[in-house]
Symmetry: C2
Subunit: 299 residues, 2 copies
């Protein structure tokens, strides 16, 4: 038994990680039907990337999902422009197999002017919106169907409504009991199995495209629900900036993969029926959070 | 907005954690239809619990799934009896949103006598086996259906076959390319979104019922596939013992919830349609890995 061979086999089975690029195939290998061509990668605009810098210098980069929660995302951009997260904000809750949550643990910091509070409940939207470019073969347990938007987001949908599902690394807006919708100041990301029951009950505003492991490895809070019991346990946030606010030389660049072509549909089919020397039984289906659309750092 | 209220709301939405007991309802509150009665909790036999002690004294306790992979589990019991993991074994791979893996990183340690190598491919079994006591309402993306065994395990099934799905905290046997099946010496547990494409392609031998957060917070390996690059990064395993091998005073005790009654079926329904002041849209369904059967420390 070779662990390294095992590992290489499992790699093919792993869900696409949010950030790392797939290793390019050797020039001698024939491309697979689901491989991306260079023109399949679309650069994410600078004002769609929100970069949180944590104490110690590590960063967590979020692609904002403006088309799916426009008022919440507008609030988030205003909070960043006002430097709201730059003083006193922290990661203050980490619950195993659930979420890491950040913002103002004291709940006392005033919000900047210009925010819409409360925002409307942007938990889903008409399915006539951004458009679904590819679909999964099987029914979704939480929706009539699931697939991929033209702008590189996972989508679930039932009837005439669609929404971005609560997958690993998705970013949502913490809120109180309904009808509260949250402001956008308190955010969380999923660090465990997708808590899809939250779909349509909370606003999804983005996806961590780089640095999720800076949150997923944090000590779990020993307070109720994973809250840190003491201020000293909290991980301070140093700053939050849209990439467009950073000096050009410091801007990170990420790309999503186009979903509206046969190569992407072949990629989806390859996730639904894994092949190769490791797998003996292809599933015939996949769940959307185990087949997230690829995002990579721009080469 | 109250973060604490928010948190309490999200708790109701969180997948059942592997180990913690649900908080008992106040005496004044009427029990919900899905609440367990004291007689619903079944104590797991001592020889079904395998306790790994890590450097520093933390433990990770695995409930072994002997009915679902009998030869692999027999190997694991022999490995523990031979103290195979007590010298030189470690957690040597941690890949974000995927697995933590442990055993002998050198691949050179001889296996004890008496192991069946290779074991048969115990990746699924006839559905006439342990019996399904409760079912989820909707189709599973990886199987025709999913539900709960009489002995407290999640199950997926298609046609005449059933298997334990690759959910968070499930323990599998690392292996090389098919037809290799692994020996049981190299194990992993899921620390991210369920990689269900592995279902029916690898042997599931247990579930971490306590201490998963001791693995899920470990630094992600910076080598390929999350392997630690240096020996110093590995987390040594001090010992692995069946609870039945421990002095009575040191044995941990865990219980699974009975699945073969109306109270459990009501609990399943409550996972499929979340209620309460937080949720505005119940899903009408749930995915098996987001509705794992409850396990708790014996009170």
């Amino acid at each position: 038994m070779s662990i390294l061979l095992l590992a290489a086999s499992l790699q093919a089975a792993s869900p696409a990680a949010p950030a790392p690029a797939p290793a390019p195939a050797p020039a001698s290998a024939a491309p697979a039907a689901g491989d991306a061509l260079p023109e399949d990668w679309v650069t994410i605009p600078d004002d769609e990337l929100l970069v949180f810098t944590l104490r110690g210098g590590g960063t967590v980069t979020v692609r904002l999902a403006a088309p799916y929660a426009p008022v919440h995302v507008a609030n988030i951009r205003r909070l960043a422009a006002a430097r709201w997260w730059d003083q006193g904000a922290s990661v203050y809750r980490v619950q195993d197999n659930y979420v890491a949550q950040w913002g103002d643990a004291t709940e006392k910091k005033p919000l900047p002017a210009g925010l819409v509070t409360p925002p409307p409940a942007e938990y889903d939207q008409p399915a006539t919106g951004a458009g679904v470019a590819a679909r999964l073969a099987r029914r979704d347990p939480y929706a009539e169907g699931a697939g991929y938007s033209r702008d590189g987001w996972p989508l679930a949908g039932s009837g005439a409504r669609q929404w971005v599902p609560h997958c690993y690394a998705m970013v949502g807006v913490a809120r109180d009991l309904a009808p509260d919708t949250g402001s956008g100041a308190e955010l969380y990301t999923v660090i465990g199995h997708a808590p899809r029951a939250l779909d349509r009950n909370i606003a999804i505003v983005g996806r961590v495209v780089d640095g999720i492991e800076r949150l997923s490895v944090l000590p779990r809070g020993t307070g109720e629900l994973g809250f840190y019991k003491t201020e000293g346990e909290r991980l301070p946030i140093v700053s939050a900036r849209l990439a467009s606010e950073l000096p050009a030389a410091e801007r990170p660049h990420f790309q999503y993969r186009r979903t509206d072509n046969a190569r992407f549909r072949a990629w989806v089919a390859s996730r639904e029926n894994r092949a190769g020397p490791f797998f003996t039984v292809p599933a015939g289906g996949a769940e959307i959070c185990a087949a997230l659309p690829p995002v990579r750092r721009a080469p």
